[in-house]
Every structure is written in structure tokens, then in C-alpha cells.
């Protein structure tokens, strides 16, 4: 794959962080809170995640059993307008790259992790001019790897997610909260206030200009 687009500092289509795709697929409001409103809340889950990533990112490169590991490898795709960082890219003895993403928890219901990994692979393909059929997600809790095949359907999901995230960034507003089961597991629950905001959207803010009897 070759790149033809010249990056321009004044380009309105700034690259989308790969992490934003994952956030968007989980919840568009979460994505806007993090990437538009610049909200960040540390909680147990993000701290665990950070520790797992710090372990994964400790050194730049090493060789294990003929496989060269690149940790914290910067990624970009000019054709997709994506940037990010790979936890680990394994370079097999024949030079083929194989991305591995570290996850703190267990496997999740939604496909956000698969999309994130596929987006990393699509960046690597463009950067290295190769094709990458699969990669792995490593779940810290189970210490197991799960192989993800980069199918045409998954690649299309990546492309449409990039488009929708870019639209969200351009609009720069907060989508309404989902106030569903996602919120309970969300690291931004306290900052988002999904139930309270939904309540206020539906019933309005209490009137401060009335008085209760003494």
C-alpha cells in the first residue's frame, strides 16, 4: 500500500486516535467526554489497565525465540486518517508483523477490542506495505490470547467508525447519555452522570425560585 496524501498542518481532518474508535463503539457519549470534553477519570479499571499497559510498554524492542518484539510502536495511516500506538507488534522470523493488544479485564461482549486491533493492523499494513491477516488480544485476567481475523466486514467496521468519530469531533457536542447497562461498567460514570442528565433532559432542572414553607 502506498500513500499519496500530503499531511498538512492546517488540514481540517486531523487524525483520529485509534482509542477513540473503541470508545465510540462502546458509547458515543463516552467518546465525546474523553476526546471532545477532555474528561479523564481514573478508577480501579483504568488503573489496572494502565498497569497492564505499563508492563507491555516497558522497553522498546527485544528478541524472544526468534520473534522480535516492538513495544509501544507508533502507528499511523494517512489514508484512514488514524494514529495510535500498538502495545506489542511481534515480527516473526520471516518479517511478518503480528499485532498483540493487552487488555486488563476479560473478553467483552462488544467488538470494540477487535476493531481496535484491526485498526492497528490496517495502520501497520500501510506503514510496512504488507498485508496482515490476523492478530491477537491478550486478556490479563485469563492470561489467554484470542486470535482475531481481520475480515472484510471487520475492516469495513473500522472505516465506518473512523467516519462517525470524525463527524462527532467536528460537531463537538455531547451526545445524550444511553443510561443503560453500559453505564454501570463505565469508568466515566461519575463524570457522565447519565441517569441524572437523562432525568433533567426529560423533566427539566428544578425551579430554584420557589420556597418551601418554613
Amino acid at each position: 500500500m502506498t500513500t499519496t496524501k500530503t499531511p498538512s498542518p492546517s488540514s481540517p481532518d486531523d487524525p483520529v486516535p485509534i482509542s477513540a474508535l473503541q470508545h465510540y463503539l462502546y458509547c458515543p457519549r463516552q467518546c465525546a467526554l474523553i476526546h471532545v470534553e477532555q474528561t479523564f477519570e481514573e478508577n480501579l479499571y483504568t488503573l489496572r489497565g494502565r498497569r497492564v499497559h505499563e508492563q507491555a510498554h516497558e522497553s522498546g524492542g527485544e528478541v524472544v525465540a526468534g520473534v522480535r518484539l516492538e513495544r509501544a510502536l507508533p502507528l499511523y495511516s494517512e489514508s484512514l486518517g488514524l494514529i495510535g500506538k500498538a502495545d506489542v507488534v511481534e515480527f516473526l522470523p520471516d518479517g511478518a508483523p503480528y499485532p498483540v493488544e493487552y487488555k486488563a479485564g476479560a473478553r467483552k461482549k462488544r467488538n470494540a477490542d477487535d476493531v481496535q486491533l484491526c485498526a492497528q493492523a490496517m495502520c501497520l499494513e500501510e506503514m510496512l506495505g504488507v498485508s496482515i491477516p490476523e492478530g491477537s488480544l491478550f486478556y490479563d485476567r485469563s492470561k489467554r490470547r484470542r486470535v482475531v481475523a481481520f475480515t472484510e466486514a471487520l475492516r469495513e467496521t473500522v472505516q465506518s467508525a473512523v467516519q462517525r468519530v470524525r463527524e462527532l469531533f467536528e460537531e463537538a457536542t455531547l451526545p445524550a447519555p444511553p443510561a443503560d447497562e453500559r453505564c454501570k461498567a463505565c469508568s466515566l460514570l461519575d463524570a457522565c452522570m447519565p441517569y441524572e442528565v437523562q432525568h433533567l433532559h426529560q423533566r427539566g432542572v428544578p425551579d430554584p425560585f420557589t420556597v418551601e414553607d418554613a
Partner: protein, 343 residues
């Protein structure tokens, strides 16, 4: 929501705070007097001649821990400001709101409504616990004036009228303040609000608490990416944290005044905690400040039910919740700003 971690207050002159791995070490005269894991601390407040190592400052900036420098007497001097300063669109919205007189008026009316509601609640609570029928009458009278002012707010068309209504109510509130003091009355007589300098013990205590609350409001606003200097109710003036003052208004009576009254009425603070200076100024001395800070830290961990969130929120986080609600209003997520109601 940021976790409510302890704030470390250091007033030992000449002490040195430094970072060793993830631990804060407090050195006094070359000896480590205390060490605290950094993850237990939400912020640092240092009085007067207290030194902090650059690496400790770097780490606090990175983690978003607040660092505030006060004079030895507790007057605000400076605050650490970290490189990431939130959302530029939010600050744009903050300025755009100020440029729109109608929106500024709406916001100011709601902020004053919050202040008067909470002042009225404090007056009525004190009236129920009053030490004499006269005191009760005074307090109920002031509360009735607050009720009238609240009902009149929606009719006010100009910001100056809103400020006037707030000023009138504050006059009535402080005129009744003495009636809320039930014990140590001879030593703690409130003679009208005096600042710069405070001229009695009650004023000295109030000024100290207002200073702490103001710092917390400014930190909370910065925490959500708002500019503490760009306020709506208070007139802009260079160097004045007008948005912090705005946010403080609704919190003064429940978080500072009520707390000061508790310290006095329960005898937790004593006349010997204050020093009178020639010419009439009165200030809290070092033991007095220690007493107040310790009790205040405890108070911050206690919870109040937030009327909007309908769940218990630690007192120390209330400024943070309100700052966030204000930011959400300015960015259009909430149609109106909901002030905090003390119940």
C-alpha cells in the same frame, strides 16, 4: 468523580517536601518527620516558608493533584497549574455566555437563588435550635426576607438588580448571624461582617474558612477546565477569581458558616485559638488553624445528599460536582445550571 483524598496541610515553617518513588517525604530540620504514599493525597496546601522539590511538583502536575501556596496566615498566594488545561471549547462557551447579557443574567439569578435558598435553610435550622425566643424571631425574620427575595428574583431584569438583591439578603443574614451563636456568646460576638482585616473572632474564623472554600472552588473549576477568573455574577477584575467567587456563593452558608457555628457552639474552638493584634485585627493563631483544618478535613469526608444526584456526596466533593454541572450547562448538555440545595 475525583476520589476525595486527603489534602495535606503543612504549616511547619522551614519544612521540605520531596518525592521518593511514589511517597511524599516531609523533612523537618534535615530529618524525615512523615512519609505518605502519594496515592493517599488529593492535594497539598502549604503555609508560608514550606519548600517543595521540583520533582514533587512535576508529579503533582502530572497527576492533577492540586498544590496551593498560602501565606503563613492562610492568605492565598499561588496555585500549581498543570499543562493540560481541559477543553478550549468549554472556555470559549464560558466567554460566549459572558458576552450574552441575557444568559449571564439567567445564570446569575440561579446562582443567587442557590445562595439565598441555602442561607435561608441555615437560618431556619438555627431558628429551630435557637437559645431564646428573641433569637428565633430574629432568625425567622431574616429567613422571611430571604423567601421574599427568592420569589422576586425571576422579575429582575438587570445584573445589578440581582447583585443588589444578593447584597440586601446578605445584609439581613449577617444582621441575624449573632442569633445563631448559642454558646461562648461573650467570647464570640459577631459585630457585623468585617474583612481586611477581620476585627473579631467570628470574622477571623469566617474569613479563614471562606479562603479555604475559595481555594477548593477554584481547584474544582480548574479541574473541569473552566477559567476561575471568568465569572458571571461577580464583576470581572484582573486577579480576582470571579467564577470561584460565583460558585462559592451557594456553598458559603452550608459549608462554611454552618461549620463555623458548629465549631463555636460545640466549643471545638476557643478564644485562645485567636490572637488580637494592636489596632483591632484578629487572626487565628497556629493552634487555632490546626484545630480548624483538622475539623474541616473531617467535615469534608462527611456526606450530604445531593438533591440532584439523589445520593450521598462527600462534602469535599460538592464544589467539584457543581463545577461539573456548571461546565455542562455552559457546553449545552444541561439547559439550565442547577445550584446546590442544602436540605
Amino acid at each position: 468523580m475525583t476520589e476525595l483524598l486527603n489534602t495535606l496541610y503543612v504549616q511547619t515553617q522551614g519544612s521540605y517536601l520531596r518525592l521518593e518513588h511514589d511517597t511524599l517525604k516531609l523533612d523537618i530540620e534535615g530529618k524525615t518527620a512523615a512519609q505518605i504514599p502519594l496515592h493517599h493525597l488529593g492535594g497539598l496546601v502549604v503555609f508560608g516558608n514550606v519548600l517543595l522539590s521540583p520533582f514533587l511538583l512535576h508529579r503533582c502536575a502530572e497527576d492533577g493533584r492540586s498544590v496551593v501556596w498560602l501565606s503563613q496566615n492562610g492568605r492565598f498566594k499561588a496555585r500549581l497549574s498543570a499543562p493540560t488545561s481541559g477543553n478550549v471549547l468549554l472556555r470559549r462557551a464560558q466567554h460566549a455566555t459572558l458576552d450574552c447579557p441575557e444568559r449571564t443574567l439567567q445564570l446569575a439569578r440561579r446562582m443567587v437563588a442557590g445562595k439565598l435558598q441555602n442561607a435561608r435553610t441555615v437560618l431556619l435550622r438555627a431558628a429551630r435550635e435557637a437559645s431564646s425566643p428573641e433569637s428565633e424571631g430574629t432568625l425567622r425574620g431574616a429567613a422571611a426576607l430571604h423567601a421574599q427575595a427568592i420569589l422576586g428574583l425571576p422579575r429582575l431584569r438587570y445584573l445589578d438588580e440581582v447583585r443588589g438583591a444578593e447584597g440586601d439578603a446578605a445584609g439581613a443574614y449577617f444582621a441575624a448571624f449573632n442569633a445563631m451563636i448559642r454558646t461562648q456568646k461573650a467570647d464570640f460576638t459577631f459585630t457585623g461582617r468585617s474583612r481586611r482585616p477581620p476585627r473579631d473572632r467570628v470574622n477571623a474564623l469566617l474569613s479563614f474558612l471562606y479562603g479555604m472554600l475559595r481555594n477548593e472552588c477554584a481547584s474544582a473549576l480548574e479541574g473541569v477546565g473552566l477559567d476561575p477568573q471568568v465569572g458571571f455574577l461577580h464583576a470581572l477584575r484582573p486577579g480576582r477569581p470571579t467564577l470561584a467567587l460565583d460558585l462559592m456563593e451557594e456553598l458559603r452558608a452550608p459549608l462554611a458558616d454552618r461549620f463555623a457555628l458548629t465549631l463555636i457552639n460545640l466549643g471545638q474552638i476557643k478564644p485562645q485559638d485567636f490572637t488580637s493584634r494592636p489596632g483591632g485585627a484578629v487572626e487565628l493563631n497556629e493552634t487555632g488553624r490546626k484545630t480548624v483544618i483538622t475539623a474541616y478535613q473531617k467535615r469534608k469526608q462527611e456526606t450530604l445528599t445531593h438533591p440532584l444526584l439523589k445520593k450521598p456526596v462527600p462534602v469535599g466533593l460538592i464544589p467539584h460536582v457543581q463545577a461539573r454541572l456548571l461546565a455542562r450547562h455552559l457546553r449545552g448538555d444541561l439547559l439550565e445550571y442547577p445550584p446546590f440545595f442544602y436540605r
